[in-house]
């Protein structure tokens, strides 16, 4: 190839390398999508349809939700969800009575265990609902958390 093309190509790849090393080209996050319809849904049925494709969910005793019976501070409610169901694709966490019930959704694969722990905001006493999508079906468990001081601010 001629010198000009060689220089252009090496400059271009140099720029890419610089961008990559500075963290601007983080693989996966650039293309990551965010399910706006599900997160903006204002009721459980729509949030379920948006998050897991259907509001038809089967109760399952194989999903464990660890959350306090009474949350003194609704702004920081620790929630841990785990399940023994196999081939879990996603775990979605909802706070049923929040203005927009869907809180978060996590994807799992064969190496990640279906376990997630985080802290969520709850506007008022409500069920925390964990929905596990596995093998093409949706399973759920609920746990009521009493909230003394609502956590959504305002």
């Amino acid at each position: 190839m001629n010198r000009r093309v060689f220089l252009q190509r090496s400059l271009a790849s140099g720029a890419v390398a610089l961008a990559a090393s500075s963290g601007l080209l983080v693989p996966g996050t650039v293309l990551a999508s965010w399910n706006k319809a599900a997160f903006d849904a204002k009721d459980m049925a729509s949030a379920l349809k948006g998050a897991v494709g259907s509001d038809s969910v089967e109760e399952s005793a194989d999903i464990k939700i660890k959350a306090p019976d009474i949350a003194e501070n609704g702004a920081v409610v620790p929630v841990t969800v785990s399940t023994t169901i196999k081939d879990v694709k996603t775990i979605s966490i909802f706070s049923e009575k929040n203005g927009t019930p869907l809180v978060a959704q996590f994807d799992f694969d064969s190496s990640s265990q279906p376990f997630i722990s985080t802290r969520i905001k709850m506007g008022k006493t409500s069920n925390v609902v964990a929905v596990v999508n596995a093998g093409g079906k949706n399973y759920q468990a609920k746990k009521e958390v009493k909230v003394t001081i609502g956590g959504c601010g305002g």
Binding site: A75, N98, F108, S112, Q113, I116
Partner: protein
């Protein structure tokens, strides 16, 4: 790597399972709160995506909404990694900001 990371992370391997505990400094502003002095709505600023990779392979992805608490905590577990493997956690928020941190699995 001059900017201080917003992510604190600990990854421990025990009996073949790596447990990751991460704390992210982020306001997770819902967009529903009003500034008490000006009465203006504080715009939403919240993490939307979280991802974790080990040795370049995706381990977990999360889509996050405004109802995750301020300065969010996340913990998750996975198998198949070895002590000394490099783990990378990254987040992006609705304003286009992002941050990443890497840590070795202990």
């Amino acid at each position: 790597m001059s900017k201080k990371s917003s992510i604190k992370i600990r990854a421990k391997l025990k009996n073949g399972v790596t447990t990751v505990k991460a704390l992210v400094r982020h306001p997770m502003e819902t967009g529903l709160r009003k500034d008490k002095k000006t009465g203006k709505v504080i715009p939403a600023k919240f993490i939307q995506n979280l991802s974790c990779e080990v040795n370049g392979k995706k381990v977990i992805n999360g889509q996050i909404g405004v109802a995750v608490s301020k300065n969010p905590y996340f913990s998750f577990k996975f198998e198949g990694a070895n002590s000394g493997d490099e783990l990378k956690l990254a987040w992006t928020d609705n304003t286009g900001k992002s941050d990443t941190t890497t840590s070795k699995i202990k």
